[in-house]
């Protein structure tokens, strides 16, 4: 029994009939000479939430940002990121189309310096949707999905910067959802939020799982265990273990993982 815990690495793979929304094969990321992500191979099943956990500096953001090429121009990325049978980094892939389908929500809320309404309608209009009533509909539905509608519906013309941090973050989620993406990447979306806003956000994500594939970076073990179906544990630029969340938290295969999730780290 103890012997199995001596494993160095344990990565879950899925049976062929399970639909995979996104997968990386031997992904490498370099910041100059710093090899910040090594041999990352993960599969993200469709309509599930996967949590990325690990200590600060372990490479969670690095990995996540590579998935929709937000690291372009900052880091060098090697290896495969397969989405719908295409490598995201391939020349033939249009980066803008790809990013619409693989949306991202950042650690710090970053609404545009525009009204609440325009924060959502502006990217839609840029995408080519001109019909005002259609835009209105999307604004409303995405705000509802992000559980913000009731708080702002009377004052959509207000500047988004006048919202609270938690509201801003939910607006950013609504803005991403409005593009109707396939996959939602979230980098510690709750780190700037108070417990109540965090709770609301988690409820939102739970509902969104029905229609989206979500990959979320979090520092909170509770959040990962409450929210996610699968969990990947990273350490010093490597993926140490990937499994169902239940296994990771109750019966991890690698000693390092066990130490980390039980708080005996370091």
């Amino acid at each position: 029994m103890l012997e199995t815990k001596r494993k160095e690495k344990s990565i879950l793979t899925f049976p062929a009939d399970r639909e995979i929304a996104l997968e990386t094969n031997n992904l490498q990321v370099y910041y100059g000479d710093n090899h910040a992500m090594q041999d990352a191979s993960l599969q993200f099943p469709r309509y599930s939430i996967t949590a990325l956990i690990g200590a600060s500096g372990s490479g969670k953001s690095t990995y996540l940002r590579s998935l929709n090429r937000m690291n372009d121009g900052i880091a060098r990325v090697d290896g495969e990121i397969m989405y719908r049978g295409l490598d995201v980094n391939a020349d033939e892939v249009d980066i803008y189309q790809m990013r619409r389908r693989i949306g991202m929500v950042f650690q710090r809320p970053n609404p545009f310096a525009k009204s609440i309404y325009n924060n959502i309608s502006f990217p839609l209009r840029e995408m080519g949707i001109k019909d005002k009533s259609k835009i209105d509909g999307i604004v409303e539905s995405s705000l509802k999905q992000a559980a913000l509608w009731d708080e702002v519906k009377d004052d959509l013309k207000r500047s988004a910067l006048a919202l609270s941090g938690g509201q801003q973050q939910r607006l950013c989620i609504a803005r991403s959802l409005a593009m109707s993406p396939d996959i939602l990447l979230m980098d510690e979306p709750a780190s700037a939020l108070d417990p109540i806003s965090t709770h609301k956000l988690e409820m939102t994500l739970n509902d969104l799982k029905e229609q989206y594939t979500i990959i979320i970076v979090t520092h909170s073990m509770e959040q990962a265990s409450r929210l996610s179906d699968y969990t990947a544990f990273m350490h010093m630029g490597k993926i140490v273990e990937f499994d169902t969340t239940e296994n990771i938290f109750t019966n991890p295969a690698v000693k390092l993982t066990e130490d980390y999730v039980s708080g005996n780290f370091g």
């Binding site: 989405y83 719908r84 049978g85 295409l86 033939e92 892939v93 249009d94 980066i95 803008y96 189309q97 790809m98 389908r101 840029e126 080519g128």
Partner: protein, 302 residues
């Protein structure tokens, strides 16, 4: 599924937009580059014509004292009086302005406190923005008579030019030095005071020393402004292209001869080309000032 793949691989509107945007902004930068290069090229080629087309001697240009490019049969292009004039007013006004600027800047940052700074800062900013013709007008109506009564002579001359430029560069130098004083970390001051140093010792030994590069940059910036200033100087210097024997007799600078002369000469003739040579000297000097500040900026921190 395949429809999505198709969409993903089709070149989107956004990607075309991006290429266009990059091109537009690059075009703007290129335009500015072109402007600079053509200024450098045209002034240089015009300025050198005196020596290559009209076959005047470069050595004479920098050493001879008589400026009479339209003299017959032998034109005389000795630019020494203007060069001396330009350097005199520049150096003298910088020397005069430096102590006042240093004192004012130190006062604003380290002595006056918030309220003093709040009053002085906008006034200094306003003065930086006052048009040079206004300084020239005041020079003409106040400074020249003042110089005449106090120092004798006609009042027109290098001294008046110095006074006018002093007032002009003072706010520029002060506000630049204020910025570099503000950049000196607060703990320098605290550490020095904690060691028992008096305020002046702190200012002199720590703050000024730490901000020497910033001070030099500010002064050179002021000198560049003084050297290139045309109208204010031209209004008070007297505009006599002879080597000045003292500070209160009429003299001239590169800029003053340029502004008075360019409209009265015919393009392409020697008298006109000679003026472009003066402009070339002006241009080269501004490049020198630029290099100097760049050099200092590379070496110093604040």
């Amino acid at each position: 599924m395949d429809a999505v793949k198709k969409e993903l691989t089709r070149k989107s509107k956004a990607s075309r937009q991006d290429q266009r945007g990059k091109l537009i902004s690059l075009a703007c930068v290129t335009l500015i580059m072109l402007v600079v290069l053509s200024i450098l090229y045209m002034i240089t080629s015009k300025g050198l014509a005196t020596f290559f087309e009209n076959k005047m001697s470069i050595v004479d240009f920098f050493t001879k004292q008589v400026w009479n490019p339209s003299a017959k049969p032998q034109a005389l292009v000795g630019a020494l009086p203007m060069i001396v004039g330009s350097f005199s007013v520049t150096v003298l006004s910088a020397l005069l302005a430096a102590p006042f600027a240093i004192a004012t800047a130190i006062f604003m940052v380290d002595i006056a406190g918030k309220r003093g700074r709040k009053i002085l800062q906008p006034v200094i900013e306003l003065l930086v923005g006052i048009p040079s013709v206004v300084y020239g007008f005041i020079g003409l109506t106040v400074v020249v008579p003042f110089t005449r009564t106090v120092f004798g002579g006609t009042g027109f001359g290098i001294l008046s030019g110095t006074f006018v430029l002093f007032v002009m560069v003072l706010p520029t130098v002060t506000s630049m030095y204020v910025d570099s004083l503000k950049a000196v970390p607060q703990f320098y001051r605290e550490a020095s005071l904690a060691l028992g140093a008096t305020r002046w010792q702190t200012i002199y030994k720590v703050i000024i020393r730490a901000s020497i590069p910033g001070l030099l940059t500010a002064i050179i910036f002021g000198m560049a402004r003084a050297f290139g200033e045309a109208l204010a100087v031209q209004m008070v210097i007297g505009n006599a292209s002879i080597l000045p024997s003292d500070l209160v007799s009429p003299a001239s600078t590169l800029t003053s001869v340029l502004t008075t002369g360019i409209g009265n000469t015919v393009l392409g003739t020697l008298p006109n080309n000679a003026l472009w040579s003066l402009a070339l000297v002006l241009l080269l000097m501004s490049l020198v000032f630029n290099l100097l500040t760049r050099f200092i900026g590379k070496k110093g921190a604040f």
